[in-house]
């Protein structure tokens, strides 16, 4: 991972190694508190994607590919989208309308409250994080792929 030929300088790599977990933590915080504070699934997901992108920029594409299983990320993305749809259909089955709330609402302002909304926020967060990261990943790798073909 610490190959000096790939990625940016040692300083950037070290700073990234320290800060990237804080960024991930902040993203998770925003997603989990989506029903209580400003932010939510989309905003938190974007921040999670930025954490991954930070690693890609600092350590280079090859090192990231070794560290992350890209195919697995693609699968998580599809699974989270499918699960969101299933939550909607469960709403029809248990509540009578698409995306209907079927869990107890709990006390307002508690972390575990607001019925299905936190679950939906988590699914959106995963989906957005993976999608945004993979979009940049694919676009950044486009020239390599074309060069390989020629």
């Amino acid at each position: 991972m610490n190959d000096p030929k790939n990625g940016m300088t040692l300083i950037v790599k070290t700073v990234t190694r320290v800060t990237v977990w804080l960024i991930v933590l902040y993203g998770i915080y925003l997603i989990l508190h989506g029903h209580l504070t400003p932010g939510g699934g989309f905003g938190g997901g974007v921040i999670l994607a930025l954490a991954f992108l930070n690693i890609m920029l600092a350590y280079g594409r090859d090192a990231t590919q070794k560290w992350l299983n890209i195919k697995f990320l693609e699968d998580i993305e599809a699974v989270s989208a499918t699960l969101f749809l299933f939550m909607g259909i469960l709403g029809i089955a248990l509540g009578g309308r698409f995306l209907m709330n079927f869990l107890p609402k709990g006390t307002p302002h508690a972390l575990f409250s607001a019925g299905t909304i936190p679950i939906l926020n988590i699914l959106i967060g995963i989906k957005v994080a993976m999608s945004l990261f993979l979009v940049v990943w694919v676009l950044a790798g486009l020239h390599e792929e074309e060069g390989g073909k020629k």
């Binding site: 693609e74 699968d75 599809a78 699974v79 989208a81 499918t82 749809l85 909607g88 259909i89 709403g91 029809i92 509540g95 009578g96 309308r97 698409f98 995306l99 209907m100 709330n101």
Partner: protein
């Protein structure tokens, strides 16, 4: 209620395809065909049981001004049947056509997203939701236009993407202005508040929407992207784009906005008439001079969209009936003609009419169905195109607009000229062609035969007895624009 399943089924199949399809496309074909067939069955079933009523579905039980509503009335049902029909035949046709290019599941996932977007636009009753589904359909359409991966396809897709983004910005600005003026996004609620709005504001909002949705429908001054995009896409996608996408995103959204929300203002009806007439004539003239078979068909789409617009612009019940029926029949015969063009391109490897010849011996089904489609689009009895154009022309004469009637007839003759050129050079030329590179399989043939039969049979929709059940409720939605608002809001 089955209304949300029209979005859920194609969306679910798109996600599942990307999840379980491996390197090959077997699962993708199976899943998308099952989804397409079930959508077709559901849409026909909902049209039969709907019985002219307006059904409102509140997502998550949120009441009208707060939540998003889905609305199903007669027009919705007709459009859903149309989209499901064309997308099912297109999937049937795709299997061999796409395998001929490569074996990739991504095509089917994108295709299902395209269907999701169109179904969403059709059933939503919320203005911003309409915009979101429009974007879903457009983004998958951009990717599908570029699917072949050649330079000209990328160029066409880029042009389409730029024009599509421009139109989306215009539509979004229009929605924002309407929202700031009425504080609601539900179309029925906006319709309720429209009479109290400043006429100047309505004038500008109408203009912005006309440019935005006109770009999506490829009406004449906004048509520049269409011939590139529709001729470069793979043939089943050309059929989807020309057959249903421009109608759903352009014409259907216009109908909902200008008729059901704005209440059919006189000014915009006249603009529809003028723009429609320009589209008919110029689209026809441009299609006659083309030598690329798919480009010729794409320009004739511009011309046929003009007929629909003129029919809407007349504003009488007969004119609206003609417009709705032409929308229905154009989707069928234009998709059929694009399938024919795709089959010829696959067999001969060219779209240039000058390099083709007599194809009756080697491709009997393609050549016969192309004759049916060609006669239908140029308005020869007894096909559906004749009936719909006749209704529009009679409506124009009855509404005291003989100039437009003459223009419509000239446009019909121009279409006939373009189609005769296609038949003369493409299918019945002098040089006998004996060798083709690839045989047309049973799935492609059955898709073409199905649509050719429908070209003949859909004229039956106008028979007394069927017409009252199938088309009259649709006309009533447009002829009495205020009714939509009352039925959705339940008063």
């Amino acid at each position: 209620m089955i209304l949300p399943y029209f979005i859920a089924i194609p969306l679910l199949s798109a996600f599942l395809i990307s999840l379980i399809a491996g390197k090959k496309d077997y699962w993708a074909i199976l899943l998308s065909t099952v989804a397409g067939a079930s959508l077709l069955i559901l849409s026909i079933y909902s049209m039969i049981v709907q019985n002219g009523e307006t059904l409102v579905y509140e997502m998550g039980f949120w009441k009208v001004p707060i939540g998003i509503v889905l609305v199903q009335d007669a027009l919705t049902c007709l459009m859903l049947v149309l989209v499901s029909l064309i997308s099912f035949t297109s999937l049937l046709y795709s299997v061999q056509y796409i395998q001929h290019m490569d074996r990739n599941w991504k095509y089917y996932a994108l295709f299902m997203l395209l269907v999701t977007g169109m179904n969403g636009v059709i059933i939503t009753g919320d203005l911003f939701n309409l915009f979101v589904f429009m974007e879903i359909a457009l983004l998958s359409a951009f990717a599908l236009v570029a699917y072949g991966g050649k330079a000209e396809e990328y160029e066409a897709a880029f042009k389409y993407a730029v024009m599509g983004a421009l139109s989306s910005i215009l539509v979004l600005v229009g929605i924002a202005i309407l929202y700031s003026a009425t504080s609601t996004l539900t179309m029925a609620k906006i319709a309720e508040k429209v009479p109290s709005l400043d006429p100047k504001l309505l004038f500008w909002v109408g203009g912005i929407f006309l440019a935005g949705l006109g770009l999506k429908a490829a009406i004449m001054p906004f048509h520049a992207w269409l011939p590139d995009a529709h001729s470069s896409a793979p043939a089943p996608i050309s059929a989807m784009l020309s057959g249903v996408l421009i109608k759903v995103l352009g014409i259907y959204a216009m109908i909902r906005l200008y008729f059901n929300v704005f209440g059919a203002p006189e000014l915009y009806m006249n603009i529809f008439l003028v723009l429609g007439a320009i589209s008919i004539i110029l689209g026809g003239l441009l299609s006659v001079v083309q030598w690329d078979m798919k480009r010729l068909l794409a320009y004739s789409s511009v011309s046929q969209i003009g007929y629909i617009l003129v029919g809407l612009g007349i504003g009488t019940e007969l004119g609206i009936l003609g417009a709705i029926f032409h929308l229905f029949s154009h989707a069928i015969f234009k998709s059929l003609l694009f399938y024919n063009a795709g089959a010829v391109e696959m067999a001969l490897g060219t779209r240039d009419l000058r390099k083709m010849g007599f194809l009756g011996k080697v491709m009997p089904v393609t050549s016969a169905t192309s004759l049916v489609g060609g006669l239908a689009i140029s308005g020869i009895p007894p096909f559906n195109g004749f009936i719909s154009k006749l209704i529009i022309i009679i409506a124009l004469i009855k509404a005291d607009a003989p100039v437009y009637a003459i223009l419509a007839i000239i446009g019909s003759i121009l279409t006939l000229g373009a189609i005769m050129k296609m038949q003369r050079y493409g299918f019945r030329g002098e040089t006998e062609i004996t060798k083709i590179t690839e045989k047309i399989g049973w799935r492609m043939q059955s898709a073409m035969i199905l649509l050719a039969v429908l070209c003949l049979l859909s004229g039956l929709l106008l028979l007394p007895g069927i017409r009252e059940a199938a088309l009259d409720p649709v006309v009533a939605v447009l002829a009495d624009p205020g009714q939509y608002m009352q039925l959705v809001l339940g008063r």
